[in-house]
């Protein structure tokens, strides 16, 4: 542990990093992609979604929140963890109403892209088809909780980047949802279309109006290359 450098071992690959980094930051820097959904580089990590689960010294742990320590042995790209992550994504698909064919986020959606990357064809769990209302009262932004995965990015972005705290969690367990900081609806909040909270949603749950379907099929973010390819490209130099 001389000069603050730390070595960890990710799937038997030696990764040199420095104290204070998380496992995910250390891996990102050297081009090892750990799948993630609620994580965003501009936000404090929250460890909500569990998609970035890795095994640290044999124990399942969030890569986005776990700080590196000298000699950590991390499992990431194993069959067991890939299977686990696919099931997390499948459960998110069946518990909401994620209808990709008419969603404005299609092709640019991180949930969809992760499912592609994990090779999901049809979820192995039964669909729940919950009844959820859409809040389109705001002139420029709508929130459609049918597509919400409770990642809390909007909560963190609005609080920490926009300084507005427009969004927050209410309820627990399967009754948990994103609430807006107003008596009734999104239109009564300080939210503006230019806010980070309005664009940081990984799915089509919070969408700026009149921006959907602008990029044609075939040219969208995840049409050609799987999510994480940008990080993996670093390893290839």
């Amino acid at each position: 542990m001389s000069n603050g450098k730390i070595t960890i071992y990710v799937d038997d690959v030696e990764v040199t990093t420095e104290a204070g980094k998380t496992i995910m930051e250390a891996c990102d820097a050297v081009g090892i992609y750990i799948p993630r959904l609620c994580y965003h580089k501009d936000l404090v990590p929250a460890g909500h979604c569990r998609v970035c689960t890795v095994k640290v010294n044999g124990k399942p742990t969030n890569a986005c929140t776990f700080p590196v320590q000298e000699g950590l042995v991390v499992e990431n790209d194993t069959d067991e963890l890939k299977e686990f992550r696919r099931h997390v994504i499948e459960m998110l698909f069946v518990e909401g109403n994620h209808v990709c064919p008419y969603c404005e986020k299609q092709g640019n959606c991180e949930l969809q892209a992760l499912a592609y990357r994990f090779g999901m064809l049809a979820p192995t769990y039964p669909y729940l088809y919950p009844k959820i209302e859409v809040d389109a009262t705001h002139p420029d932004v709508y929130i459609d909780r049918n597509r919400c995965v409770l990642c809390g990015r909007c909560v963190r972005a609005s609080r920490d980047l926009d300084g507005k705290s427009v969004f927050g969690f209410v309820g627990r367990g399967k009754g948990k949802r994103i609430a807006v900081n107003a008596e009734h609806s999104l239109s009564e909040t300080q939210l503006q279309a230019a806010d980070r909270a309005a664009e940081i949603c990984p799915t089509g749950s919070i969408v700026v109006k009149r921006t959907g379907y602008r990029v044609p099929y075939g040219k969208r973010l995840y049409d050609k290359e799987p999510i994480g390819s940008d990080i993996e490209a670093k390893a290839k130099g």
Binding site: V99, P101, Q106, A122, E225
Partner: protein
């Protein structure tokens, strides 16, 4: 040796998946050399003529008739392939799943803005609606899935040619789409 047989059917969907199957373009000629079509809207054969190797299902299971067709396909086909978002997830027709069936029927046939002297159809020839639209794999065992709305023609081609060659189908990244 007789050619393998393929059957297709269309349930609660829009026929877009069948259109996408036709969209394999000149490879259709190759496909016709590889297989014979049995019961299918493509050749308009209404009943199975015998055992079929590959059955292709488009659309979700929304009515009593859909249910019976699904059961029949499972009985007659060695391999069943569900194609498209409606078959895999319920898709657009499944938007009715969050509304009770009675309310759906009343809105369509009694209370809709353009309805005059409405009546909810109740003819014995009209299949009864199920309480909701089911993904087909929640009704019968499905062996393979091709997602997409519609699935890209390449996805059809990759899966069909693999199955006919006795290989495990793999859909390439660019042909795997849910939209």
């Amino acid at each position: 040796m007789a050619k393998p047989k393929v059957a297709t059917t269309h349930m609660a969907g829009c026929f877009g998946c069948h259109m996408s199957l036709l969209d394999i373009d000149e490879r259709l000629v190759q496909l016709i050399e590889l297989v014979d079509f049995d019961k299918s809207p493509i050749d308009d054969i209404k009943r199975f003529t015998g055992p079929v190797d590959v059955g292709i299902i488009e659309g979700g299971c929304s009515s009593q008739e859909n249910y019976e067709v699904l059961k029949m396909f499972r009985k007659h086909c060695k391999v069943l392939v569900a194609v498209g978002e409606c078959a895999l997830t319920g898709g657009i027709p499944a938007m009715r799943n969050t509304v009770p069936l009675k309310e759906c029927m009343e809105e369509a046939y009694l209370k809709g803005p353009s309805v005059v002297d409405g009546v909810i159809p109740n003819d014995p020839d009209i299949p009864l609606m199920l309480d909701k639209v089911y993904p087909v794999h929640e009704v019968v065992k499905i062996d393979y899935f091709i997602p997409g709305c519609p699935p890209p023609a390449d996805a059809f081609w990759q899966v069909l040619t693999a199955l006919l060659a006795g290989k495990e189908p793999v859909i390439t990244y660019e042909a795997l789409k849910y939209d």
